[in-house]
Symmetry: C2
Subunit: 210 residues, 2 copies
């Protein structure tokens, strides 16, 4: 029994240590990527920033991409997912698109590292897949119900994603007031076929949702 307990203790300690090291690497990656972008940071940079040996790195992540995807899953994806959950309180796809715009702005105010991460990781395949996927159900729904009118789902989706990204950059660079955010949301609705004055009315920040 005693031996088994000892073994169990050792396994538990080892697991915890592994988790800590893995987390240290992810944290280091968050700092580096937010500062210098996802493209330029090498495995050596990540290992140096986390104060582990290069060999140790490979015990946790087979490739650079694996670390970046873990980073996105840990740091980037969570608030993004929370925003997507929050907007489900609205049935109208137009309101959802507006609410996303404002929620991304607010979250960037609270957590600028997240904002810069999102911008600098846009080259990563999983990030791009997630970003392109998010407005697609609302755009399809809006088209089917006659709320929106557009010819090409791909171009509509790319316009929404690129407008949110442009707003995020402007917000982080402190060039985007709340009026800027609302106006960009208004222009997106117009682009998707919503008419004035409704586009203006809908474009304001909706009542706080959590």
């Amino acid at each position: 029994m005693e031996i088994e307990t000892q073994l169990g203790y050792r396994t538990e300690t080892g697991r915890k240590r592994r988790e800590r090291t893995r987390y240290k690497l992810i944290e280091a990656a968050a700092r580096l990527v937010a500062h210098q972008g996802a493209d330029s940071a090498t495995i050596d940079d990540f290992a140096r920033e986390a104060k582990v040996a290069r060999g140790t790195f490979y015990n946790y992540f087979p490739t650079r991409e694996d670390l970046l995807e873990a980073l996105w899953a840990h740091v980037g994806h969570v608030p993004f997912h929370r925003i997507q959950q929050a907007i489900t309180v609205f049935d109208d796809p137009a309101k959802r698109i507006v609410a996303t715009m404002h929620l991304v702005a607010h979250h960037a105010d609270e957590d600028s590292i997240w904002g810069w991460l999102l911008l600098s990781m846009s080259g990563l395949s999983q990030v791009n897949v997630d970003l392109r996927a998010y407005p697609t159900p609302d755009l399809k729904l809006g088209l089917q119900s006659g709320r929106f009118s557009f010819n090409d789902l791909t171009s509509a989706r790319d316009l929404v994603v690129s407008a949110v990204r442009a707003m995020l950059r402007a917000r982080l660079e402190q060039r985007a007031s709340d009026a800027y955010v609302a106006d960009l949301a208004r222009m997106l609705l117009l682009a998707l076929g919503v008419r004035e004055p409704e586009a203006s009315e809908l474009s304001m920040d909706p009542s706080p949702i959590t």
Copy 2:
């Protein structure tokens, strides 16, 4: 006289050699930046790719940024400037915005290196200044003449720039048909306050302009 001629000859040879080396560095930078992005390439990378010593690099460009700005001036800015010149045949700012969209698509078809350069250099200050500046006069003109209606020049400008950039990326990744390009142009016009069916009519590729 003979000494002067010799000196003149030497100076001329030296000048030509310097020009060649400078150009070699710019060419090497174009290849690297198109492949791996502007952020990640270091001075060592540029020198290695151009097959010159690191010390030689500094004889031509005091900093990494100086090389990148020379690259933009040589390779990136010229087609961009030509497109801006070409659209002056249109008086209507709406037509100019549509024509720019299509011309950027066509130029990316002919010269994908230029397209990738434009995308990967977007972090560079001079590139951003140029990109943000280009639609501003047309947007102001359109607003004054009542052709466009929007509340905030900054958000309108960012929407146009980010839509062109999204289209360029999609075109280079061969996801953007001519119909996609036209539809994105149509949505931009709607966003700027042009109504249907005019937005649809104007959004097609205008007759070839050079």
